[in-house]
């Protein structure tokens, strides 16, 4: 019987280390999975099965003659072996797939977790959570701290605003004296004026921040006009809530609506002109010369006018509120302020509702 050992050593070697190699492959898979919960016993089990499988194969290869002898008389065995090998291969494939899916699931969970952390950091304000991000975007510390300060103050402003609304609501229902109501109206008005003052400060630090309305809810931003609500919109919300008006009041309100609209249109067109100017400046000259060209510095000069526009828009809002308070009685002003406050609250509720609406799975 011919038994060239040299010929079969490789296969024998292959036969014996193959299971280890396969365990090695499995090990690689498990390492990259990280939190894979496949227990050690499973690994051993698989390894054993692989080892048995390979030993059977190597055994087969070591005794070709015996196999050869058997061949003619037992084709059924061969078929059986083939089927067993197929089953084994299929099983291994299923296990690999399971491990891969496990890996994907864990990565997905990790991604969700990271997204939540990022969102949380963003909500905390650009200064706290986005230090690195802000640094990369080239936002100076001064701007960051200006924005952070504003966001803190705005949060307190909002709390105070909601308190004012509650007081107004109960005061109107309780039928308190006009003098007491006047105090509430004055404080409500001053509160709005305080917001405009805060905005002018942060506008000097970062006018784009004010223009973007980041500190407000999404629905509020939808209606944003030069960093805040439209004065004409304010009147539209207010006027139906303060009926009945005297003829004189109707006349005055009508005039206010008209002059407010005209002023608003003038500022809007001025803004359009500003956009055109900045755009034309940036686009001027030849292209293909890189990013840091004189056009950018020139455009920046033009852009400084944006701060003026934001201030003018807030001034218009303030004047509109002020003029309304002159036209209306104390009680009407109180109802007007309440209507305005509640309208804003509804916008905020709309934003929340929209964010939480049931969505179709992607």
């Amino acid at each position: 019987m011919d038994f060239p050992s040299t010929q079969f050593v490789p296969s024998r070697t292959m036969g014996t280390y193959e299971p280890i190699h396969q365990i090695g492959m499995w090990g690689e898979n498990f390492k990259s999975i990280g939190n894979a919960n496949i227990s050690a016993s499973v690994i051993v089990d698989v390894a054993n099965k692989l080892e048995n499988e390979s030993e059977t194969t190597s055994h087969e290869m070591l005794t070709p003659s015996s196999k050869h002898d058997q061949e003619a008389s037992k084709p059924f065995d061969k078929v059986q072996r083939r089927l067993a090998q197929n089953r084994e291969a299929a099983r291994k494939s299923r296990l690999r797939k399971k491990a891969y899916v496990q890996q994907l699931e864990n990565s997905r969970l990790k991604l969700i977790q990271l997204e939540q952390e990022l969102e949380h950091a963003r909500q905390q304000g650009p200064y706290v959570g986005g230090g690195l991000e802000a640094g990369l975007l080239g936002i100076s510390r001064a701007v960051n701290s200006g924005i952070a300060a504003f966001e803190m103050k705005y949060e307190r402003w909002m709390e105070e605003q909601n308190k004012n609304m509650c007081e107004l609501r109960s005061a109107l229902n309780a039928q308190i004296s006009d003098i007491e109501l006047r105090i509430l109206v004055e404080s409500g008005m001053s509160h709005y004026f305080e917001l405009f003052r805060l905005k002018s400060i942060v506008a000097k630090a970062d006018v784009f921040y004010v223009m973007s309305g980041t500190w407000k809810t999404s629905a509020e931003r939808f209606f944003s006009w030069i960093g805040g609500f439209r004065p004409s919109e304010l009147l539209k919300v207010l006027v139906p809530q303060i009926d009945p008006l005297t003829d004189q009041q109707i006349f005055e309100v009508c005039n206010l609506k008209q002059s407010c609209q005209q002023a608003e249109d003038a500022l809007s067109q001025g803004m359009e002109k500003l956009q055109e100017t900045v755009s034309a400046t940036l686009a001027s000259g030849q292209m293909g010369q890189g990013t840091y060209v004189p056009q950018v510095a020139m455009a920046m000069e033009k852009l400084e006018a944006l701060v003026c526009f934001v201030n003018q828009a807030d001034h218009l809002r303030q004047e509109t509120l002020q003029q309304m308070s002159y036209i209306l009685t104390t009680r009407q002003s109180a109802r007007g302020l309440l209507a305005l406050g509640e309208y804003t609250q509804r916008l905020q509720a709309l934003s929340t509702l929209w964010a939480n609406r049931p969505r179709e799975p992607a």
Binding site: L256, S259, Q262, Q269, G270, M271, T277, F309, Q312, E319
Partner: protein
């Protein structure tokens, strides 16, 4: 007599402006909307522009442009004009200068 004083005494409604100033442009639009045509003087297109800017500051303007004079008197800049308009005080002042169609 400096150019500014001369211009405002000769013209009832004067707007001192700069062609590049978008806020000035906004005021031009506003005057258009209320149906008046002011005498617009672009300081950046006047060789004496610098001198006129200084004169305007001396007269009490915080910013040289836009500066609005009605009937020879300084009304102010955008802030003042807007406030005046919303309070209903601008139209009466402008009435002598409104075009016949209004």
């Amino acid at each position: 007599m400096d150019k500014v004083t001369r211009l405002v005494s000769e013209n009832g409604l004067v707007l001192f402006s700069k062609s590049s100033c978008c806020l000035c442009y906004a005021l031009k639009i506003l005057f258009q909307e209320v149906g008046v045509t002011p005498t617009v003087h672009e300081l950046d297109q006047d060789p004496e522009g610098r001198e006129m800017e200084r004169a305007l500051m001396r007269l009490g303007c915080n910013v040289p442009v836009p500066a609005v004079f009605i009937g020879g008197k300084l009304v102010g800049s955008t802030n003042e004009v807007m406030s005046l308009h919303l309070s209903g005080g601008l139209i009466p002042l402008l009435r002598p200068y409104q075009s016949i169609s209004n």
